[in-house]
Amino acid sequence: MTTFAPATAEDTLATVQWALAEEAPLEIVGHGSKRGIGRPLQCEHTLDLSKLSGVTLYEPAELVLSAKAGTPLAEIEKLLADNRQQLAFEPMDYGPLFGQASGRGTIGGALAANLSGPRRLKAGAARDHILGIHAVSGRGEAFKSGGRVVKNVTGYDLSKAMAGSWGTLAAVTDVTFKVLPAAETETTLAVRGLLDDHAVAAMALALGSSAEVSSAAHLPYPAVAAVADGSLGSDAATLLRVEGFGPSVAYRMETLKSLLKNAGPLEEFAVEPSRKIWRAIRDCEPFAGGSKPLWRVSMAPSAGHEMVMALRMQAAVSAFYDWQGGLVWLSMEAGDPEAGLVRALVEKHGGGHATLVRATPAQRAALSVFQQQAPAQAALSARLKEQFDPKNILNPGRMV
């Protein structure tokens, strides 16, 4: 059991070349904040990229930032905040979910897991903001893709290929991201006491309006009570976030309030409580800590609650919704029947996928953590892996 912690891209390359020659699989980690996700790995050796750290380029006026892959996300977010900018994709922090401290995680990990947050609806995920990478493939070759400019269609977008690949294609050593101005202010409107189906209708109405809602979540009881130190009380809350320049936010909030005046009791949260609420939703606070299995389901926004309703007939579940209803966090057992049930219902309600985010190693070894793909897509994905990592030495089996 050896842990290699190279401090340079060259040493990272040498490590992978050695592993390739030995055919010794490597588990790639940054801070290890998401190590509990995916099928448990049985690698003799670990490639720890956390020493590949530091911002190498930051030009606020060009909206671009480059960093070594092991750079702490917190360091980058602080630097950006000091310049009134942000990673607009709002990467979630998985730490609290696994009972760890918050504020850990690297920028490389954010890409590997294709992180996003409540602003996903408007701003996309890590994949939508990555501009370029340097990486070492499982072939023991250092390659690059993309660049440092926003608009670039030169060659295949291998940077996007890294997003959500969980370190199974290449060890990314350097990343370049597009950054964006942080909103001057934000306000959140809550509609209280709605049942799931009414909440989803209200969110669709709001998102389809000119209020430019950047996030929309629905917290039924009991999830609502576990958010932001219980400050939301225990009535279901349907939350709509409006961000931007002060006068614009005020105007759009009025638009939203008049649009939803008959939907239910309305409540407004100013900038500070609003930020706190959305951070809690981003990090899945209602289900933080503990060891109860947790599922993350991505579906069409209008379909999530229907799937949950059908699921409730056959299993004990607790759920809340982000992304206008399209992201469902489900607290539910993780046995074969539950896995089969949730995935069949996802399929039945228009498609998407269910990932078993938190479970014991035994459960994660027994079940498919990631939803199995249709045969043609699965075969294509396997061929892609083969072209990056023919000897299967990088995080082998993690995405199975």
């Binding site: 977008d157 669709a204 638009t255 069409a300």
Partner: protein, 498 residues
């Protein structure tokens, strides 16, 4: 055709042309197979009209099953295939090959579903970009990416090229606005990726497909996001005595946290050509003209217009007009939108380039271009997506003067080399195609290119789909798959290990 080497035609395929035509007629009955030379002429070029080539045969399928059967048929018989949407590529992406079937997707022209609650549209790939907006505008929605060919270009082609447009700094490229695709691989397999959910599952195959220039698969269905139309849009027309001041103004606008809906710059030759053509009342005494468009709720737009005006004045603008009506806003844009035809009026031919640079390098690149312009003895006019650094130099030449096309191409290649030298890229939105294919080594080394070609091998191991595009030199997948493994000992004793 000036000096462009395409893959050597396969004589065996050419010899079997009649048989292939007959077999394709068996798959696509009726008018769907075009094999007469005079009828195939319409397909011999795309938006890069300097290159022309008649295909082996043109086939226009109507169903996914037909696309699948055609590709499988060609795959099994090692027949090359060039996919084509509306044929508006500016990089020769749809340029036919003599021995290849040209697979034209224009009959896939239906919108399949409009889903307002999930704000998406499911369309066949031959639907035009603008056609999607037209289908939803009555309800107040639109599709954001707006390449300048949006009246004609197809949404399938947009996926193939990852098309951008004037609004992409704020609203993203095609890749950021596509939720799902269905495609057919060269072996005939139909693959569906994504859907109406926001996170596509597994590897980001959709991200790889977007911008892959028809080399990986043929798109047969696209699901795109639509957005509520902004309540209002207003524009500023700002003139500067130097391009440095114009560039600094752009940097300061973004530095102030403002992301305009559109931000375009033109240099003096482009301003003059546009003004002579459309009489938009552009100021002629400036070196750089900036159009900044703000969109959103009226109160936001008014607030930001005032901010941008202050920034412009601080940077020494000599003209700063603010549109007071929708009509005036459109007038500001009229010159910019007509810049290409306007340049076409002052020169018999023009060649449009598409590099992207880090924005702060603009003065250096413009100066470099002036030097190159003198060296080659050809004029150049510049329009520039200022927000994202995407340059469109228009090189003026006369194709009837022997050697001048070659000169224009050499000039263009030098401009792109300059873009790469200052940290930019070869193409921002037009694609590599055949046009920039041989320049790829300026940006990528052989290992980078080999890894890209290996991705191609995962999708199309026979290199049968759109060969001769994007990669300067094709290598067999078997050769690319070989590994050179060195050593077995740890060659780096000083790496910390625990």
């Amino acid at each position: 055709m000036s000096g462009l080497a395409m893959p050597k035609p396969d004589d065996a395929v050419l010899a079997r042309r009649a048989e292939i035509v007959a077999d394709l007629r068996g798959i696509v009955p009726g008018e769907g197979v075009v094999d007469r030379v005079n009828e195939m002429r319409a397909f011999e070029t795309d938006g890069l009209t300097a290159y022309r080539q008649l295909p082996l045969v043109v086939v226009l399928p109507q169903t996914v099953a037909q696309v699948s059967r055609i590709l499988k048929y060609c795959d099994q018989r090692k027949i090359r295939v060039v996919p084509r949407g509306s044929g508006t590529s500016l990089s020769g992406g749809a340029l036919p090959l003599e021995d290849a079937v040209l697979l034209v997707m224009s009959r896939f022209n239906r919108i399949l579903e409009i889903d307002y609650p999930n704000r998406c549209v499911v369309a066949q790939p031959g639907v035009t970009n603008l056609g999607i907006t037209i289908a939803v505008e009555e309800e107040g929605f639109y599709y954001a990416p707006d390449p300048s060919s949006q009246i004609a270009c197809s949404i399938g082609g947009n996926v193939a090229e990852n098309s951008g447009g004037v609004h992409c700094l704020k609203y993203g490229l095609t890749a950021n606005n596509v939720l799902g695709i269905e495609m057919v691989l060269m072996n005939g397999e139909v693959v569906r990726l994504g859907g109406r959910h926001l996170d596509a599952e597994g590897y980001d195959l959709m991200g790889i497909m977007t911008g892959s220039e028809g080399l990986l698969g043929v798109v047969t269905e696209v699901t795109v996001r639509i957005l509520r139309k902004p309540e209002t849009a207003r524009a500023l027309l700002i003139g500067f005595p130097t391009s440095e001041q114009g560039g600094q103004c752009v940097a300061d606008i973004i530095g102030a946290g403002i992301i305009p809906g559109g931000m375009e710059m033109m240099d003096r030759p482009a301003i003059r050509a546009a003004e002579d053509f459309v009489h938009a009342d552009y100021p002629l005494d400036c070196e750089a003209l900036l159009i900044v468009e703000l969109d959103g709720p009226g109160v936001e737009v008014d607030h930001l217009i005032a901010e941008v005006e202050k920034i412009a004045l601080r940077n020494g603008s000599t003209t700063c007009r603010i549109s007071q009506s929708e009509e005036e806003r459109l007038t500001f844009w009229a010159g910019r939108k007509a810049a290409f035809p306007a340049v076409g009026r002052i020169s018999p031919d023009y060649y449009c380039m598409d590099g992207t640079i880090p924005r702060q390098q603009l003065p250096k690149v413009l100066a470099g271009m002036r030097e190159l312009s003198e060296k080659y003895g050809l004029g150049v006019a510049n329009v520039f997506h200022a927000g994202d650094g995407n340059l469109h130099p228009l090189i003026l030449y006369d194709a009837n003067v022997p050697g001048e096309l070659q000169k224009a191409e050499d000039f263009g290649a030098d401009i792109l080399r300059l873009c790469v030298q200052v940290g930019g890229v070869l193409t921002g939105e037009h694609g590599v195609g055949v046009e920039k294919r041989d320049l790829m080594p300026e940006m990528f080394n052989q290992i980078d290119l080999d890894q890209q070609m290996r991705v191609k091998c995962a999708f199309d191991p026979g290199h049968l789909l759109n060969p001769g595009k994007m990669f300067p030199q094709l290598r067999r997948c078997a050769e690319l798959g070989r590994m050179h493994i060195s050593g077995g000992k740890l060659p780096f004793p000083d790496i910390p290990r625990f």
